[in-house]
């Protein structure tokens, strides 16, 4: 699930998740891959883009049709377990921003 998310016509929503990983994997990689797979099966999911550099700082942006889809994903049981682990174990810090995409264009 690497690379670009599809480019539907706006408006749609973006969840911008910026995070700083701590040291050691501690089950992170498997869980992160599972979460991407499970997210992709949720109603209203449009796509996801993710990048993390050597410093452990990363940005994952997931795209959703509407706010209701974001709320449902936030409340999804397996995702909630992952959120707890993220807060307690995997991330030194994170910021989540929810934004409405108003326009978009590609290199073309």
């Amino acid at each position: 699930m690497a690379g670009f998310a599809p480019l539907p016509q706006p408006p749609y929503y973006a969840v911008i998740f910026a995070s700083q990983r701590g040291t050691g994997d501690k089950g992170y990689k498997n869980m992160a891959e599972s979460m991407l797979e499970i997210a992709a099966q949720q109603p209203g999911f449009l796509g996801v883009e993710t990048a993390r550099g050597e410093s452990g700082f990363g940005i994952t942006v997931s795209y959703w049709e509407n706010e209701a889809a974001i709320a449902a994903w936030k409340a999804e049981f397996r995702h909630r377990v992952a959120q707890q682990q993220g807060k307690a174990v995997w991330y030194e810090d994170y910021i989540i921003r929810v934004a409405k995409v108003e326009r978009a264009y590609a290199k073309g």
Copy 2:
């Protein structure tokens, strides 16, 4: 300029720039650093977060007070030169999304 952007009270704007680098530096690293420095001096600039993985896929999100600040930065002369280079030389592909941040929260 690594790590998290500040967390002002929404609303504000995000420019989500997802890109796939081609091979070879070709002046990219110097220019990317210069652009971050110049962007930080623009009126309405709030902050920037950036991450790029080993595959060359990266996400840079810059945050701005309003749409006018984004338009002014897009038109800035040195930035326009960089945009041309980016399109012609540095990026195999990219997608730019402009979004209005409606809510935000940190690990806390």
